[in-house]
């Protein structure tokens, strides 16, 4: 799934593998090209190999196979401190015995910059994250959000072209996390640095990224811009992991013109886009977003029509979430926008449900 424009790749993973114990591969055949200035997010559950990949790029882990290129040069044998890569750590890793300003000055001092330059750059970096007055504080005297900003400023103060972020927002509460997502996104847009960001939070990935690499089992399952990843998942893992998803399992019965007919486990027949099936007779998983399901669809609106029984109705303000029993699956979720003309749906009602072929994707089993 490498980007074809590999010649312009700023960061390039080429057939990279990593094993810690010589038995299991944590990262299996990783190939990614990251162009200059991109915000690429590695998204996946814990243990999927995303952090290991980041650590290999930073130089803290060595690849057991394959090459990592930075700006066209293999960096497999370059020590971490010579890579010139900024990094933001999960728990910020701000040096507790130094003040905020000293923390920011550290990367400049090890580069033997003059004192005046150091002071100027530190102040500029502090202003960038709106902490201009906090230079003399210790990290422990700052709030979580402020520490986070200092960590970002420290990773950027020596003007690296590439910044790595390892779940930097994981320790913040929800509101702050959302705010920081925008701040990091804006900093990225303003400075034009290349960012490789690791997270297991899909909304974080969707908010900030130019492209998202969905990791599972040591491989990139899909590498695509956020909209594509959500709208057009290419396999069952991506569909399930990113956003809410209705999963219907069955067997492919017939294929024609990119559309397949699937017999579900309970015998119902569904028409779906043939995205990633193994051909007629083979098992498949259908993916269907809850907001693309219509209740009481008008005639001709949907090619797939069934009846469903509302098992649970949950009022969530902006929308109503209905758990239904459809086609033998009692965990079928439908999201209904809370419009004023909608008549209230009551638990136990049986009503027609339907969805279009274009919204239903037949993926791997």
């Amino acid at each position: 799934m490498a980007n074809p424009a590999s010649s312009e790749a700023y960061v390039r993973f080429d057939g990279v593998q990593k094993s810690y114990d010589g038995v299991n591969l944590v990262v299996k055949d990783l190939n990614v090209d990251i162009p200059r200035g991109e915000f690429l997010t590695m998204l996946g559950p814990s243990g999927s190999g995303k952090t290991t990949s980041l650590m290999m790029l930073a130089g803290f882990e060595t690849a057991t196979h394959g090459d990592i290129y930075l700006n066209g040069r293999s960096i497999n044998n370059v020590a971490p401190h010579k890579r010139g890569i900024g990094m933001v750590f999960q728990n910020y890793a701000l040096f507790p015995h130094m003040t905020v300003a000293e923390n920011l000055a550290f990367p400049l001092q090890v580069r033997k910059m003059s004192k005046a330059d150091v002071e100027e750059k530190v102040q500029r970096a502090l202003d960038m994250v709106e902490l201009g007055e906090f230079g003399n504080r210790r990290p422990a005297q700052l709030s979580g959000g402020q520490q986070q900003r200092v960590a970002v400023a420290r990773a950027l103060v020596f003007e690296p072209d590439l910044v790595l972020m390892d779940e930097p927002l994981g320790a913040l509460d929800k509101n702050l996390r959302e705010q920081m997502q925008y701040e990091i996104k804006h900093i990225h847009e303003r400075l034009g640095v290349t960012v490789v960001y690791v997270t297991h939070d899909q909304s974080e990935a969707l908010t900030m990224s130019n492209r998202i690499a969905g990791f599972e089992d040591g491989r990139i399952q899909q590498l695509a811009p956020p909209t594509e990843l959500y709208e057009k998942p290419e396999n069952a893992f991506v569909a399930q992991f990113i956003g809410e998803n209705n999963k219907l399992t069955g067997r492919v019965d017939a294929l024609a013109d990119g559309i397949c007919e699937v017999v579900l486990d309970n015998g119902d027949r569904v028409k779906a886009l043939d995205i990633n099936t193994d051909g007629a007779g083979k098992g498949t998983t259908l993916s269907l977003r809850p907001e693309r399901v219509f209740l009481n669809p008008v005639e001709g609106q949907c090619q797939n029509m069934f009846s469903g029984k509302a098992e649970e109705v949950i009022y969530l303000g902006d929308h109503i979430r209905v758990r239904m029993n459809v086609c033998g699956h009692d965990d079928f979720i439908v999201k209904v926008p809370n419009a004023s003309d909608k008549k209230g749906l009551v638990q136990g009602d049986t009503i027609p449900v339907g969805w279009s072929i274009d919204d239903c994707r037949a993926l791997d089993a």
Partner: protein
């Protein structure tokens, strides 16, 4: 909420007083309970720790022997000006004391004490008392006749000085000073100094031992702290193993290692580093003491260091590296400062343990590797000069407190962390 606001709002003085009394009463029961729980320890410490130290403090200045066993003489000497030999009345008092002391068998104690101060006093007193039958008025002539020493004004000055129940003489002794016959205090010639040299040696060797434990213990602790807990625990047993072995066994095994026919010398001869005829003296000197004590005190450095290093996340080092620091800079500027509390704790533990150490220097230290503790023990067990032992002990105590106070001002005890 509203109740408490009202209550704290406008309380009259009487009400405040009552509130305080109520609060006190409600807390008293808990305080009593807490006190009951710590009482056994407090009593234990009072009996086994505070009382002996108090006793030691008293012993170091207490000097009632001469006063007690030669009461008449010391009383009579109170008014003596020390310019010329005492008059007949004082000789008479002395004669009385000697005869009385011989009967009570206490004159020997006084003689022993006097002998600490001036050699020859014991034989002067004891042989006089053996010839007590010859003592007769006029006592002055009679006593000088029996022993010429009684005609020496210096001997009388010694008796007069020791007649006081409180004395600085032990401390004067402990500071390698002496009192001449005029009562002036001065240092003994440098080649006769014992205790100041011992104190100085104890200090610098303890500093050396502490430095060695830091140098050897730091990498070990770092290694242990960087290992997964499962392996670290196994290796930690190796660190703790010496604690389960008798101190004597550990010390004597160093004798086997270091003596001139020992493992190390044999090995060096075998390799050919040294010839068989000039084996290196590695034990019964300062080298032996430093080597053995470094080994014995090493766990006291490793344990606090390890527990502090455990709390330093590896991401700090990684962060430093990613910011462009070489491994050395990252260690020196980021890792080391964060382990200073562990170094402080370990250093103060090792240093204070080492400065009062006794068994190991006694076994492997020989003459040049002995500590002040050995001198104290010597006075406790062999010369039985408990007063001097107490004075040396007090000096050691003050020294340790002084060093600790200095350390507290420079480093600060709140930076000490045992984990």
């Amino acid at each position: 909420m509203s109740i408490s606001v009202e209550a704290t709002g406008d309380l009259s003085p009487e009400e405040q007083k009552r509130l305080k009394a109520d609060l006190h009463r409600s807390l008293r029961r808990n305080k009593m309970k807490a006190l009951m729980l710590v009482a056994p320890l407090i009593i234990f410490i009072l009996i086994t720790f505070v009382a002996p130290i108090g006793d030691m403090l008293i012993r170091s200045v207490d000097d009632t022997v001469v006063n007690e066993y030669m009461p008449r003489t010391t009383e009579a000497l109170d008014d003596w000006d020390g310019q010329a030999l005492p008059d007949e009345a004082i000789y008479a008092a002395l004669a009385q004391d000697i005869i009385e002391g011989r009967k009570e068998k206490t004159i020997g104690k006084a003689a022993k004490r006097l002998n600490y101060e001036k050699g020859g006093m014991r034989s002067l007193l004891m042989s006089t008392s053996r010839k007590h039958k010859k003592i007769q008025p006029p006592y002055k002539d009679s006593l000088i006749d029996i022993k010429k020493g009684w005609g020496d004004i210096d001997n009388w000055k010694v008796i007069q000085r020791l007649g006081s129940p409180v004395t600085a003489s032990y401390y004067i002794n402990a500071f390698d000073m002496e009192t001449n016959s005029d009562g002036d205090v001065s240092f003994v010639p440098p080649d006769e100094q014992i205790y100041l040299k011992l104190f100085w040696r104890t200090i610098w060797m303890s500093v050396l031992i502490t430095a060695m434990t830091v140098l050897l213990g730091y990498p070990v602790s770092y290694f242990l702290a960087s290992l997964p807990l499962k392996h670290a625990n196994v290796l930690m047993i190796l660190v703790l193993l010496p604690f389960w072995t008798s101190l004597l066994v550990r010390t004597t095994s160093w004798i086997a290692m270091l003596q001139s026919q020992g493992v190390l010398n044999d090995l060096m001869v075998w390799i050919g580093v040294i010839g068989d005829e000039n084996r290196v003296q590695l034990i019964y000197n300062a080298i032996g003491t430093v080597v053995a004590m470094t080994h014995i005190l090493l766990p006291f450095m490793i344990l606090p260091l390890y527990s502090v290093m455990k709390t330093v996340p590896p991401s700090y080092l990684r962060a430093a590296r990613s910011l462009g620091a070489t491994p050395w800079t990252a260690f020196w500027q980021v890792y080391l400062p964060q382990t200073v509390p562990g170094i402080s704790a370990g250093a103060i533990l090792v240093f204070i343990l080492s400065i009062g150490y006794y068994i190991t220097p006694a076994l492997v230290g020989g003459q040049s590797g002995a500590f002040i503790g050995n001198a104290i023990a010597g006075h406790m067990q062999q010369s039985l000069n408990w007063g001097l032992a107490a004075a040396l002990g007090v000096m050691l105590l003050v020294l340790v407190l002084g060093i600790y106070g200095l350390y507290n001002r420079v480093v600060g005890t709140n930076s000490v962390k045992l984990g």
